[in-house]
């Protein structure tokens, strides 16, 4: 973790945010900017490569990973609004290039990767001023943010900074929502059972909204909510925080 506050950071938007949730990406960059940090979004970025890696297509994953490594050449932190994509870059890039000439490059790259909420809390030490109306929300942490990135308390710390927001604990916080990328369509019945249980657990919180740091999970959870007529909705934490501080 850099001791000094960096003046410039890279932003890695992720492919899901790029196509489906660009608002979350913009909000993430805006939050960083408001901390006085210059944010650079390299246009040559695309996807972390996780879908290919997780499907066992290592060559394809490496080709995409190399492209990302080239797109972020300066020695600036790379902030990622997704624990899952950050986990891919931080833990699996070095593995993918183990024994290959790019291994050192992959390790150096991995060392610069930060999950957004972790960066806001532990590097920028943000203070949030809540201007929104009273609201109760719950939190969904993605498996990879919790178990690959060690991001468990950081997003909750941010939510607790919001004076008018009540954070209601998610009763099955540590359990997977059933997304798992291609798992959701390769094992559709199991995935459906998992997301149904997840929605039921979230509904137990009697809040109107689930906030999360991962858009893959959100697409799965809110998709199931919408389809089952649940009163709940979901939102990426960057958008939620921005909405609160803008009032």
């Amino acid at each position: 973790m850099p001791a000094d506050r960096p003046r410039t950071v890279y932003f890695f938007g992720t492919c899901v945010i790029d196509l489906f949730y660009p608002g979350a990406g913009l909000a993430g960059m805006e939050l960083l900017k408001r901390q006085g940090v210059r944010v650079v979004f390299p246009p040559e970025q695309s996807c972390c490569g996780q879908p290919a890696r997780n499907s066992g297509y290592f060559d394809e994953a490496r080709a995409v990973a190399l492209r990302q490594m080239r797109a972020f050449p300066e020695d600036w932190p790379i902030v990622v609004p997704s624990g899952s994509c950050a986990g891919m870059m931080k833990t699996h890039y070095p593995d993918l290039f183990d024994g290959r000439p790019q291994h050192d490059q992959a390790r150096a790259f991995a060392a610069r990767v930060f999950e957004l909420t972790d960066f806001l809390v532990n590097v920028l030490d943000v203070r949030l001023d809540d201007r929104g109306p009273p609201l109760a929300v719950t939190w969904h942490g993605s498996c990879h943010s919790m178990r690959e990135m060690g991001v468990v308390d950081q997003p909750k710390a941010l939510l607790r900074q919001l004076a008018n927001v009540t954070l209601v604990e998610n009763p099955r916080e540590k359990e997977c929502c059933g997304f798992g990328g291609t798992f959701s369509v390769r094992q559709p019945e199991i995935s459906a059972a998992m997301v149904a249980d997840k929605v039921a657990a979230l509904e137990e919180t009697r809040t109107a909204r689930v906030v999360s740091g991962d858009c893959g999970c959100l697409m799965n959870i809110t998709g199931a909510m919408a389809r089952s007529g649940s009163p709940m909705g979901g939102q990426h934490i960057a958008e939620f925080l921005l909405e609160r501080i803008d009032g």
Partner: protein
């Protein structure tokens, strides 16, 4: 035997089964968590246990020879089997030479791998399971659904009905003490008259030639003490290098498995009955079973699989296992450990779908007491299943390759590594993606069975970032 996916709905649509597993898994997770509240102590203990097993895997051939030498010096006969068929033949031969006709069995997953009971029955030898859970499923004619708690899929009422039907003189009762007492009575006689006891092994200590068995019931002690002959069957990986590796391993196993600081009994056997001793078997045999393990060992990454101490924590914490239960896996080892072990032992051509039955959520990796990188091995096996190079270490490698799928991934990689293609592709998707009929895209229609359709935003983040001036310079 493949086709995990096709079997899953049966379990998913059985509300009793779902409830039984959910309750049991929730209980086991909570009990385990209580044992490892001190993070630093857990990290240190786990590091020690993982190193102990990693050393065994790294030094396996030497340690097996050392174990054999020590056991032999202790008067315990050692047999080697490359296949389950060989192992069955060895056991049968030992029993026949002893004139044994009835066998009492302690819990052993290796004997399940061998389908030993069937084999013995086919040759006129009755094998009675004595672990209460195993006894219950033997009565029901089922296979274990969990490696530590074999009948965890059944509830009290189901067991009560089974006992009322099968145990003479017992009416229907859901009183657990009464059910347990009935099993004790029914099995006591079996122990007393058994000609041989067969057990598994949790750790075989190479340094001293000692077989270590852990259990709560005492049936393992009975099986290895009361009959005149004891045969232990074990996989070639279930070793401990030294006696002083045991404290950490024994601290990890039961706490991970059932949240107990220690099992009621830790039974350490180093000799057959010696002159002047009053009890214990006069002959003790150990059967070392390979059955694919040496192939697992051949690959420096996959061999971490062999560290497993069979605690079952990975399945207790698995969101897939807890919903489909053990029987959906169809093979002896269910859950995350099964998903990495079965395809390696049986081949990807017959269990290749199992590594895909995971969200890679890492819950198993987080709790595995010997730090097996289960998720990485799952991904590696996915890669092996489509690797046509044939150099792969795993049986059935490349058997799941589909040319359309690999072509799709090639196209995907191209689109995501050539910026111009990416710009064109995402531009097209954001403008036209929402117009594609779901029926034209099978994954999308599958997704939409229980979820709403994901909606492409009108502009990509790339475009918006450029407009807002976040681009390079």
């Amino acid at each position: 035997m493949g086709d995990f996916t096709a079997r899953a709905p049966k379990a998913l649509n059985d509300p009793t089964l779902r409830r039984n597993f959910r309750r049991a898994m929730d209980g086991l997770m909570a009990k385990r968590a209580l044992q490892f509240q001190d993070r630093d102590a857990w990290d240190a203990l786990r590091a020690r246990g993982a190193a102990a097993k990693a050393r065994v895997v790294a030094r396996l051939p030497e340690l097996l020879e050392q174990l054999e030498a020590r056991l032999t010096a202790n008067g315990i006969r050692v047999h080697w089997a490359e296949t389950t068929a060989q192992a069955n033949a060895i056991v049968l031969d030992i029993l026949r030479q002893a004139g044994a006709r009835t066998v009492i069995k302690g819990k052993s997953m290796v004997s399940e791998e061998m389908e030993l009971n069937h084999h013995l029955e086919a040759h006129g030898i009755a094998a009675i399971e004595s672990d209460l859970g195993e006894y219950i499923i033997q009565l029901a004619g089922e296979a274990p659904s969990h490696i530590v708690m074999p009948c965890i899929h059944k509830n009290k009422a189901e067991i009560a009905a089974l006992f009322a039907e099968n145990i003479e003189g017992l009416g229907y009762t859901e009183d657990v003490d009464e059910l347990t007492a009935a099993a004790r009575r029914a099995l006591r006689g079996r122990f007393a008259e058994a000609d041989a006891g067969i057990s598994g092994v949790n750790f075989a200590v190479a340094e001293t030639g000692t077989l270590v068995l852990v259990e709560n019931e005492g049936n393992g002690r009975l099986s290895t003490t009361l009959p005149p002959l004891h045969i232990a069957v074990m996989g070639i990986e279930k070793l401990a290098e030294r006696l002083d590796d045991l404290p950490a391993l024994l601290a990890l196993l039961p706490r991970s498995a059932t949240g107990q600081p220690i099992t009621t009994y830790v039974n350490m056997i180093s000799h057959p009955r010696r002159d002047g001793e009053r009890d214990g078997p006069k002959a003790v045999h150990v059967v070392l079973l390979d059955s694919g393990r040496s192939r697992v060992h051949a690959d420096p990454e996959l061999r971490d699989t062999l560290r497993c101490i069979r605690c079952g924590a990975c399945m207790n914490h698995c969101p897939v296992y807890s919903r489909v239960g053990g029987h959906t896996y169809k093979f002896v080892y269910p859950g995350p450990i099964g998903k990495i072990l079965t395809p390696q032992l049986e081949g990807l051509d017959c269990a290749g779908d199992q590594p895909h039955a995971s969200t890679l959520c890492n819950a198993c990796v987080e709790v595995c007491p010997v730090r097996i990188p289960i998720a990485d091995i799952l991904v590696r096996l996915r890669a092996e299943s489509i690797d046509p190079s044939g150099s792969a270490a795993v049986k059935g490698a490349g058997s799941m390759r589909k040319s359309l799928e690999s072509l799709t991934w090639k196209g995907w990689a191209l689109m995501h590594s050539v910026p111009l293609l990416h710009r064109l592709g995402t531009w097209a998707l954001s403008r036209l993606g929402n117009l594609i009929p779901a029926a034209a895209l099978p994954p999308l229609s599958t997704w939409m069975r229980v979820r709403s359709r994901p909606v492409f935003a009108p502009k990509t983040l790339h475009e918006l970032a450029r407009e807002k001036g976040y681009g390079n310079e």
